[in-house]
Each structure stands twice: as structure tokens, then as C-alpha cells.
């Protein structure tokens, strides 16, 4: 199951520029050798030299390892560059005038690169225009101002760039340069604090705390430079402590970058969670990714839409506030995670979590699809029954207004004729017979019409309609209807058929001596109960019409229950949702 996060992550490992990395390693080794060779003849303090080399070593090695493991992440190359420039700046120690000049030129640049690494961690990219602006200022000061100072014959006699003897001005510019860079470092600390404050980032807490603590190194740079400008007394000690801290930082970065232990732990927990086949996949996924805002949505191909776990249609966010990671199978989307954009910093974790959840996701998607199908089915069943009911109502009305009225009018005419021909017994007999035939037809038609739809129900409500049903029952029926006025027609119709079918069954099978019918409102539902004192043991599947009744009741979202113990009567109870 491939994922499509914005960071290709480890998937690009196969194309790692191994040859380039080896080449850089060899060049750097040579560089370190050269640097060490320069220390002994120079008058540089050994502690200072060791700390500078420590920083160079720390950044280059951490950077190379990061580059190797995360070829797509720019932080590796950036760290290698930082280490290399640090190494190059040791040319400062060289007796050779040209090499010394290069070293001097790069001397301050190192500090800005370190600030850059801090700000770019963990993706290797800066976030936003402000951060780029701050670093641009830093680089211009570290390189541009530094070169200007050197041209004005600042920074010692050995450097070869001096074109004018303006060392007074050079000292001032150099002071300004260092203050600017210290400000850049302080602003960077501010940015880091602001980022931490913005919160909600699901980064590993303990590690981010450790990494943050290295921001103290940035404070140290600032202090170092300011003290340098002001010429304070504690200079060597501060410098040494700061350099030591700055040298430790890349190791923490590398560890943070490569740490898969925590991710593995959370993925392991996820796998354990998923073994229980939870109905709710979203919660364990949110836990594994440490993003409480995570939403899991499923792709429903037959509806061409996204749906949440309940099968309800949702839209994927298109604004930048939320990120979306598609989970695909055979090139088709299966699901998507809608999450905090910060999770893109951890593509590996995202990969691992989605891979672990893949099967459960497929399962969950099928369940969402099933629920959506059930909803659809449910709706269509309700519509089918509703449409059938409407059609029957229409037919009843047609019969009533058409055939029944005509037959009544016909029998009226026959009756009138009969009275007129009172004195003709033969005609009278024929007319009386014809009138009887019409009366039988009318009675039959009435039964058909009533079977189609109980007109009294729509016209006069459940209480009146049930009174007739109870009166025609084969056993004495105690009828109780407690309703506050009329209720929704589909509910009335269903309740009517529950009673009608229930009483019919009592007549056919129950051998009962009496029955009760009870209809009442029970909160947001109408409860209909038909109880008899007969032999019980009713067949709820065949013949009794209970199956059809259950369909009717369930189509309205209600339920039908039947208790029919042998020898102890039958109780049919329908609960029909009704606002």
C-alpha cells in the first residue's frame, strides 16, 4: 500500500547519491588532516582548536549520516555544509597568506550556518518569508560585511584583501556586523520559542524538548559575539562552553531525525489495538500519530464521495490548515487521513501507521460502505412501502368516488322504480332482485376498498379506526388509545396494520377468550401492543403475516417484537419512532 505524502521519505533511499557521499567524506577527511597539521605550528590555543574541530566533525559526520538515511531531507546536506565551512574556517590558522584570508572570510559565516540549521530542523526547509529574510540578513552580514571589513584593512595584517587603510572604520563595521549576527541569533531563538508556543505539533515531546534546549547554543552565539564586540573579560570561558554546546546540537538533531524507536512503539501499539478489530479506527490512528485532531474518511466508489465512519458524506479540506494523506490500493483511493500538516515532518511514521492499519482500513471502509448501503436500502424500503400506501389510498379514493357512487345511484334509481311499480308484482320482484345484486356488489366493493386503505384512518385518526377493528374482532377486546391528537400518517397506518394483523391472528390461531389493544405515546415513539390470553406458540415466520408487519414497522425505523410462549398467550409489541 503506497502512500502519497508530500515528502517521499525513505522510498527514495534506493537513489541515494552514494558516490557523492563517499567523495565528500574523502575530501573532508583530507580537510581534517590538513587542519590538524596546521595546529601544531600555529600559536592557537589547543582547547580552542579542539572545540572548533569538534564542531566541524560533529556537523559533518551527523550531516553525512542524516544525508545517507534521509536523502530527500535537506537537513543532511545543510549540516555537512555547516561542518565543511567550519572546517574551512580553520584555514585561519594557516601561515599561508591566501589560505589564511579564506579562513578569515569564512570565520563568522559558520555562526549564521548554525542558526540556519536550527531553524531548518527537522525538514531542512525554512518556514516562511520572515525566516528567509532573517537568514539573508545574517548571510549578508557574515559574508558581505566581513569582506568589507577585510578590504578596509580590518581583522589583522595577514589577510590579503585590504585595499584601503581604514582600520578605524573597519573596526566599527566589524562591531556592527557582529551585533547584527547576534541579533539574528536572538531572533532565531524567538522564532523557535514561537513555534513551540504555537503547539499542536505532534512531534515527539521529549526529543523536541532536548532539541529546544540546544537553542541555548544560539543564545550563546549571541552572547559570544556581543562580548566580543564589548571586549568583556569572560570571553574565553564563554566561547569554550558555547562551542561545546553547539557541537553537541547536531548529534541531537541526527538522533531526532533518525529516531524510529518511538514511532515503532506507537505503531506496535496500533497493531495491538487493531488486532481487536475496533469499530472505531480513528481513535487508535490518532493515538499512533499523536494527532488528536486526526480524522479518518473513507472513499465510497459507488457513491463517488468521501464518507466518515458512520457513512455520512464529507468533503476533503482544501485549505492549508489541514493536510490530507491519501491511502490507495491498486491505484484507487481507499481512505484518507485528514491531519495536522506538521505530521508531514514524519513521513516515516505516517507510512508505518498507514501500512499497519491498511487491512483494518479496508475492513473499515467496507463497513462504512455497508452502512451507507443499509441506509440506502432502509430509505428505499420506506419509500417503496410509502409509495405502495399512496397508490392504495388513490385506488380507494377512485373506487369511492367512481364505482361506489355509481352503484349507490343505480340502486337508488332501482328503489325509486320499485316504489313506482308497486302495483306490478312481477316487475317488483325483478327490481328487488336487481337491487339485492347491487347491494351485494356494494358490500363486496366496500370490503375491497377497505382492504386497500382504511379511509376512516386518514379521515378520523387511529382511535376511531381502531374502535371499528376492535368491534369486529372475534373476541372481546379492551381498547385503550392514549394519543395527544393525530400522529404522522405513515405511523398511523403502520400502527393500524399492527392491530389489524394482531387481531386477525388472534381470530385465526390463538383460541383466546379475550384480548387487549393498547396504543400510547412513549417519549419519542408510539408503542402498540396487542395481547391475547390464547395458546401462544405462534409461528412468527410463516402464515401469520408477522413478517410483513415487521417489514412495515422496520421501514419506519421501528421494531416489532413478538412473545408467544406455549400456553401463555401472545404479545405483539411495535415501537414506532414518532416525534
Amino acid at each position: 500500500m503506497p502512500t502519497t505524502p508530500t515528502e517521499p521519505g525513505r522510498t527514495a533511499a534506493a537513489t541515494a547519491p552514494n558516490a557523492l557521499l563517499w567523495f565528500i567524506t574523502v575530501v573532508l577527511l583530507a580537510g581534517f588532516g590538513g587542519s590538524l597539521a596546521m595546529i601544531s605550528p600555529s600559536d592557537i590555543a589547543p582547547v580552542h582548536a579542539a572545540l572548533i574541530l569538534w564542531i566541524a566533525l560533529s556537523y559533518t559526520v551527523s550531516g553525512l549520516v542524516a544525508w545517507w538515511h534521509r536523502p530527500a531531507n535537506r537537513i543532511g546536506p545543510l549540516m555537512v555544509l555547516t561542518g565543511s565551512v567550519t572546517l574551512a574556517s580553520t584555514l585561519y590558522w594557516s601561515d599561508n597568506a591566501v589560505l589564511h584570508t579564506v579562513g578569515v572570510a569564512l570565520d563568522v559565516m559558520v555562526l549564521v550556518l548554525i542558526v540556519h540549521v536550527f531553524l531548518a530542523f527537522p525538514t531542512g526547509r525554512l518556514r516562511g518569508r520572515f525566516e528567509r529574510l532573517v537568514l539573508t540578513v545574517g548571510y549578508m552580514a557574515a559574508l558581505g560585511a566581513q569582506l568589507a571589513v577585510m578590504m578596509l584593512d580590518g581583522l589583522g595584517p595577514q589577510q590579503q584583501l585590504a585595499v584601503a587603510d581604514q582600520s578605524e572604520i573597519a573596526i566599527v563595521i566589524h562591531g556592527v556586523e557582529l551585533v547584527v549576527i547576534s541579533l539574528v541569533a536572538l531572533v532565531a531563538v524567538g522564532i523557535l520559542v514561537a513555534r513551540r508556543r504555537a503547539g499542536g505539533r505532534p512531534l515527539r515531546r521529549s526529543f523536541s524538548l532536548l532539541i529546544d534546549s540546544f537553542a541555548l547554543g544560539l543564545m550563546a552565539i549571541a552572547v559570544l559575539l556581543l562580548v566580543g564586540v564589548l571586549g568583556g573579560p569572560a570571553f574565553p570561558t564563554i566561547q569554550q562552553v558555547s562551542l561545546a554546546v553547539l557541537g553537541l546540537a547536531p548529534i541531537a538533531f541526527l538522533a531526532g531525525l533518525l529516531d524510529a524507536r518511538l514511532a515503532r512503539t506507537s505503531v506496535g501499539d496500533l497493531v495491538m489495538d487493531l488486532r481487536g478489530e475496533p469499530a472505531d479506527l480513528q481513535t487508535p490512528l490518532a493515538r499512533a500519530l499523536r494527532d488528536p485532531s486526526l480524522e479518518l474518511v473513507y472513499w465510497l466508489p459507488q457513491f463517488g464521495s468521501w464518507a466518515d465512519q458512520d457513512g455520512k458524506e464529507v468533503e476533503l479540506p482544501t485549505d492549508g490548515a489541514r493536510a490530507t494523506t491519501l491511502i490507495e490500493r491498486d491505484g484507487n483511493p481507499v481512505a484518507a487521513l485528514v491531519h495536522d500538516p506538521a505530521l508531514r515532518d514524519e513521513p516515516e511514521l505516517l507510512d508505518a501507521v498507514t501500512a499497519a492499519a491498511a487491512i483494518a482500513l479496508e475492513n473499515g471502509r467496507l463497513q462504512a460502505e455497508l452502512r451507507a448501503n443499509l441506509d440506502e436500502l432502509h430509505g428505499s424500503r420506506a419509500r417503496v412501502i410509502q409509495a405502495g400506501q399512496k397508490e392504495r389510498q388513490r385506488l380507494e379514493r377512485d373506487l369511492h368516488d367512481g364505482a361506489q357512487q355509481r352503484l349507490v345511484a343505480l340502486s337508488l334509481d332501482l328503489g325509486v322504480l320499485e316504489t313506482r311499480l308497486r302495483d306490478d308484482p312481477d316487475a317488483n320482484a325483478v327490481l328487488a332482485k336487481a337491487r339485492d345484486e347491487v347491494a351485494v356488489s356494494l358490500a363486496e366493493l366496500r370490503d375491497v376498498a377497505r382492504g386497500l386503505h382504511p379511509a376512516v384512518l386518514s379521515a378520523h385518526g387511529l382511535a376511531v379506526a381502531l374502535e371499528s377493528l376492535a368491534a369486529h374482532a372475534t373476541v372481546p377486546v379492551r381498547l385503550t388509545v392514549e394519543l395527544d391528537g393525530r400522529i404522522a400518517e405513515p405511523v398511523e397506518v403502520a400502527a393500524y396494520y399492527v392491530v389489524s394483523e394482531g387481531l386477525a391472528n388472534i381470530g385465526k390461531h390463538a383460541r383466546a377468550t379475550s384480548a387487549t389493544v393498547d396504543v400510547r405515546r412513549d417519549g419519542h415513539q408510539i408503542a402498540v401492543e396487542v395481547v391475547d390470553d390464547g395458546i401462544g406458540g405462534a409461528d412468527t415466520e410463516r402464515g401469520s403475516g408477522l413478517r410483513g408487519l415487521a417489514d412495515r414497522v422496520e421501514a419506519l425505523g421501528g421494531r416489532l417484537q413478538v412473545w408467544t410462549p406455549h400456553g401463555r398467550g401472545t404479545r405483539v409489541r411495535a415501537e414506532l419512532p414518532c416525534k
Partner: protein, 214 residues
Amino acid sequence: MQVAIAEDSVLLREGLARLLGEAGFDVIARCRDAEELRQLLKAQRPEVVIVDIRLPPTHTDEGLQAAVEIRSAYPDVGVLVLSQYVELGLAMKLLADSAEGVGYLLKDRISDVPDFLASVRRVATGGSAVDPTIVSTLLSRRRSDDPLAQLTPREREVLELMAEGTSNQGIADRLVITLRAVEKYVSSIFTKLGLPATGSESRRVLAVLLFLRS
């Protein structure tokens, strides 16, 4: 005897009007819906109105509503309700307070002209007409301890006719017995059913119906 008709089917409306007219009634209005009937009653008071239970616009209970209204607003106007179906619940609604000057019949009953005309006259003069279907439904109802079982077949016949609103004279004519004999049966029935004796014939209709329904 003045009569008004409210019936939306033109066939039936005209048929009824002709029938009543030939029988000597003065048909003062042929209304197509309940509203026309209401307007008429503001100006004129027929002795009886004949109302179809299903009238426009909704064809549900407009006729019944109008009947109930007329009964309470104009107690001296008899109301005869006609319907394709008779419903026990509606009968009880219509007869809620009294059976005086009220009738509830299946439309089919029109074709038995002499009977129908007698019913119209009875309702017009403060009597009652209850469809035999309702009475037979009530009588056919099974009861656990049935006091009707104590009645003789003749008493049962009398009870049925009584419940339908037939007068003592009417019962005597129908069963071809003397008025004196009818009175004897009626008093015997009331005693057996434990009902208090009531003077008026329409009051006893309600008493009997309520007894049968309980």
C-alpha cells in the same frame, strides 16, 4: 317538510333530491360542499339536512365536522349523515350527547326507499336512525359474561330495531305485533340488561348503544 342535501356526487345529489321531492319533501338546497350548507343554515332552517361524510375539499371528515357543528348550533335541525362505510367510532362521536334528531346510515340504505324515507322523517322530527350494520356489529361482539344471552330471540329482534332508532309503532309494524306487546318486550329487555327505563325513544337508543358498546 323542508330538507337540504350536501353531497358532492352529482348523480347522488340529484337522485336524492328527486326521490325526496317525489315523496313530498321540499328540497330547499342541494349543496356541493359543507361550506355551502353552512351558508344556507345562516339564512334558512330546514327540518333536516342530509350530509355526505366525505365532502370537498379534502374528502376526509368535512361532512362529519359540519354535522357535529350543526347539531350543537341548531339543535332543532335534524342531521342525517350518509357514508360509504359506517364506523362505530364515528357513530359514537356523532351520538356523543344524545341521539335526538340524528342519523348515521350507509349510503346503500337509500335504495330501500320506504325505509329510507321513514328514517329521514324520524330524524326530522327529533328521532334517530342508526345503521343496522352498527347495531349488528355491537350485537355480534362476544362478551365474557353476556347479558344478551338472557334475551329471547323475539326480545333480541326488538332490541335491534330499538337500537336502530325505530319507534315502538315502527317496531310493531315491522314485527307485525301489537303496540302493547312491543311495550312489554321493551320493558322486559331493560330489566334484563339492568338499564333504567327512559321515556323518550331517542334517549333509549343512546342507552342501548352505550350498553352494547361497553
